[in-house]
Symmetry: C2
Subunit: 425 residues, 2 copies
Amino acid sequence: MSTDYRSMWAKLGLDLEAHDMLLDVLGKAYQGIYLSQMGRPEGMGYFDFVMSEVHGLRIQELLEEKAAGRKIIGSYCVFVPEEIALAANATLVGLCSGADFATEAVEKLLPRNTCALIKSLFGFKLGKVCPYLESADMIVGENTCDGKKKAYESLGSLVENLFVMDLPQVKSDQGRSLLRAEYARFKAALEALTGVTVTAESLKEAIRTVNAKRSALHRLSRLRAADPAPLSGLDALLANQVSFYDNPARFTGSVNRICDELEKRIAAKVGVFPEKTPRILISGCPQAIPNWKLPHLIETAGAVIVGEESCVGERGTRHLTDESGESVEEMMEAILDRYLQVDCAVFTPNPDRLSHILEMAERCQADGVIHYGLQFCQPYLMESLPVERALEDRRIPCLRIETDYGTEDTGQLKTRIEAFIEQLR
Amino acid sequence: MSTDYRSMWAKLGLDLEAHDMLLDVLGKAYQGIYLSQMGRPEGMGYFDFVMSEVHGLRIQELLEEKAAGRKIIGSYCVFVPEEIALAANATLVGLCSGADFATEAVEKLLPRNTCALIKSLFGFKLGKVCPYLESADMIVGENTCDGKKKAYESLGSLVENLFVMDLPQVKSDQGRSLLRAEYARFKAALEALTGVTVTAESLKEAIRTVNAKRSALHRLSRLRAADPAPLSGLDALLANQVSFYDNPARFTGSVNRICDELEKRIAAKVGVFPEKTPRILISGCPQAIPNWKLPHLIETAGAVIVGEESCVGERGTRHLTDESGESVEEMMEAILDRYLQVDCAVFTPNPDRLSHILEMAERCQADGVIHYGLQFCQPYLMESLPVERALEDRRIPCLRIETDYGTEDTGQLKTRIEAFIEQLR
């Protein structure tokens, strides 16, 4: 990190010693997993910088925004509409949940058999090591899975200003009506917090900003269809991960600059892996920073990841919001339309997800699919079996992985992944 | 069993060999766990008979009802209103889900880390050993937990006429409106199935029938407050379990007759265990027939169970439906009011459950609470930690048990339960 941020972290109430330890582990992991990759596009330098300053400069920016009267909203889910936050003069950031921390303290509040992502979000709070969480003026929980829904009941006593958003389980008329009411309640809560009323103008601009970010990621996704792959899956995942933290406009510009570079690479048939490298689509649970375990294993085992069917990936970014509405009501309805298309496994039934996996496998020219299920994540583990059957019916090999953030199973996973890749050659 | 029912079972499509095996295991378990108890009330003879004929005479009765034009509805949850089924000329029965069966076949459809209750309901279907399921004209699933919600997607291809009822996750106005709409849809589906329209008269009668059943169970519960306990927890659990299968009016009469007998016992200070025997309240997941593992361990370890805070227990029966409505609409609203009070852990927040546990612990004069969580049942395991804290704050000892239907952990559980009971003396 370029500057000494210790007094900033101390003011946020971080546990400086634990936080140093975290940054040390994070830095080493980034060095070993990211910076050791060969032939990366120059544009990834931006993301290397962002990552080196992820708890530094970006936090300083957020604190400057706060000083200027903006509010910071922390969220754990792609169902929280960034458009509404931006329009109400607030910045939405994804909160840390990709590493084990303070496990002993966490397991006093949550059962041991809780998924790593949920435990992690508690760990970052209890361990006092997440400057995003500590900067936030409002934390948004959402009733997606049972694990998160029930965990937020405990989180409510650990953080100030937790806003729990209810979500439907079925995309029925009733479900739609519930989400409409919840987005309206979210908008009102934001307006009360910021003192800024969402207008047609601010909402239209916010929709455009978020659409531009998602469009840049779409462009990046499409370029990965080339063989040889112009970008590693690890780097593409990083771009998706950073999209939850970074300033949206700057992020969009940076992704588009990488895309310009990738187009030249593709024209010159330059790739990060040789042509005909086995191509993998990852499908399933989100991978939050620094949960790079599975893609690192895959891409060091001789395959390249060409797509992420995931919340940190195309599930989170696939759909744009219609920009044609003129009133706040029309645009809120367009936002509702957009988010109701997200094919999270908490919905029943959830046929769109299967269609999207098949569409992505074809578009990305994937040779096989690795289904990534976090241990104890019932919705995605439940769906992994029909997903596997549907893929095998279409002669697309599928490997179902169930793991957590620990390293105990690395050797076993490596063996299984290598055997799977071997069968794709 | 008094009659040869093999041709009846064969007509239902049961796997006779597997079914024989099941009945053999069930019979031996009942003999060893129930019939070996000392000093049982004579009235329990009725339940012994019911259990000996649970796949025989009761199925024959249901088939006779079907022959006479009635329909049989199978359900897996106390959120399915028996009142509406009865009023539409249908009989509601709880479906088998208390034992492991056909595990290998089940784990092709469901992740291994799925709770035993859900695996069991698949096992009974795949193993073709549940005559209730095979007699049913409609199976009702409900979107309670993630596990069941997603499992019903697969169950839909295994059974005919699966009706999936959506449930709210929050008891808000929107949640209430969802349940109202779902109960109306359920009523319409029943009417279409039976060809019988629910009338104010039939609905009022049905409400009275179900209220009478629940009132009899309330009476039974209250009598268990006596010391010495006039009835074992195992026998009280059995009455609750049988309430899901038996003819409601006959069941009500039988429970009331036992209550008459218990009142005499109490007056004479006769109990099934000595006075001052440590008294346990069980709280948590439902215990379906023949899941008698935990109460058997507790009551053979020197304690008596004096209440079940459970779906198969007071959570399922606590509230009566207001009988004063005169129109179908008024009574449907009363039914909605009644069921929305059920404090299942799938709701967030769910403060009523904690109040009910405390109220029961006091009323039943419990010395301690054993929280029963089925492994991988996230909602109840998540709630078990705050429940334990709240009880300990009030100096009520609490033991959290997490187990499944297997016997591998019996020794370990026995040791923990004995140590817990020792501390209550």
